[in-house]
Symmetry: C2
Subunit: 261 residues, 2 copies
Amino acid sequence: MTLPPQADSSTAETPDTPENSSGRALKAIPEATVTRLAVYLRVLGQLAEGGAETVSSEELASVAGVNSAKLRKDLSHIGSYGIRGVGYDVASLQHELERVLGLDHPQAVALVGVGNLGHALAGYGGFGGRGFPVTALFDVDPDLVGIKINGIVVKHVRDIPTECPAAGVTIGMIATPAQAAQSVCDQLVAAGVRSILNFAPTVLQVPEEVEVRKVDLAVELQVLAFHVAGRGNAAAGGISTDVPAVARVVNGRNGSAVPLS
Amino acid sequence: MTLPPQADSSTAETPDTPENSSGRALKAIPEATVTRLAVYLRVLGQLAEGGAETVSSEELASVAGVNSAKLRKDLSHIGSYGIRGVGYDVASLQHELERVLGLDHPQAVALVGVGNLGHALAGYGGFGGRGFPVTALFDVDPDLVGIKINGIVVKHVRDIPTECPAAGVTIGMIATPAQAAQSVCDQLVAAGVRSILNFAPTVLQVPEEVEVRKVDLAVELQVLAFHVAGRGNAAAGGISTDVPAVARVVNGRNGSAVPLS
DNA sequence: CGGTGTGAAGTCCTTCACAGCT
DNA sequence: AGCTGTGAAGGACTTCACACCG
């Protein structure tokens, strides 16, 4: 699964100065960069599978759909892990990114709302490769509470206060109808969850220390509709990823149909 | 689903100068603004249901999770539809936004990949309110081709070239595994689709005139993980929506549990 | 007065272009 | 000779603050 840039969070401030493992002082990493780091990480995984040992910024950028200057600037925010004249070591850059993104010790994810969409999310094993295990499921529908999805029992929403802390949940996903979302959100926050991915079409009100990212399908489609209507006229200018040649090759395919779902 | 800003499209150029219905010259609307217009539209719908006739920028902004200056600036891009000293007429602003977003005449949407996630998307009637009807479904799995979802028969992917133009499809959604996504994308583009919402975890290569927005769950979760890890330390600063008071009230609820899914 | 619409200032992000390491 | 890392320039979006209108 792939999501776009939609976080409605305003930009975080980082008053104190974190350091990386080698003790080098690091400036706060821009929000926009963090999102792309996750993309680079995924691409590196593909390259590693393909047996690549090193990549140049040009190659990596091309596959990731950005230009090389941006990629190098992004990576410069996390330190100097490239080799001049050569490129980046795939494996070590991968580890570095995992570390920076906090993936070195895994996060427990709770999903609330196991209806239509939620059910699909729960079954989405691995979330497109190395991923986040959903470790707790909640709903209020008596027909759903008690069933197992992917080996996990759906609990009642009222159990959030006890179950979430017990399971060490740090990230919550809300896939309930809009009317229920704020209430659920409040309960997750009360249970100590500080990061929430919201699929319900509502703006959630949360305390400062909680981060919300939202995924709103209707909004995505409406933005596309705007462009279809010609008002954003993409045709005239530079929409689309500015990526040439290499990418299609490295992606490991070139046009033949492949089994779906 | 919500993105953030997340479309990876570079910014479109708009060389010619569009006008609105009243003939007033309009500058190109910023991408970031378009995304929020869709949110405002949704909120206006809620307000209209609640019986509101007018809203101030302050109120509307609060419910939409932005500050009022931004909201006014956003609306100024589409013209002057407010009344000084009063606010905005809910109904007419609603219509104006629908017109600008190109929702006045509806778009046909095709969905490719009716597996786990795709199935859920197909059943997501109305997409959280006024929405986009999915009018064509495709897959390659023989077990899926031929079944009906929400009254729509799943066709084989090889029928895209004939079915999409026939149904007047303008927007495509890709919910296939990553390996299949580029191939499907190519076929949609060949069939005349110029706007694509991609759920597969791959960067799609498309010609300039095609717009791609992506929704990548793994990336969203990884960004959240980054903040959990404290590296983006939200706690210290200004994450979260800067919305107070009014919002929770206008949202029509205040904390009690509501049925889910 | 109250609240919109908007120039101007400010912030964040992107792109350029090149110095410097290997 | 090649490719990274980065200051500096450039754009895009946001916030401020106030003139202006109803």
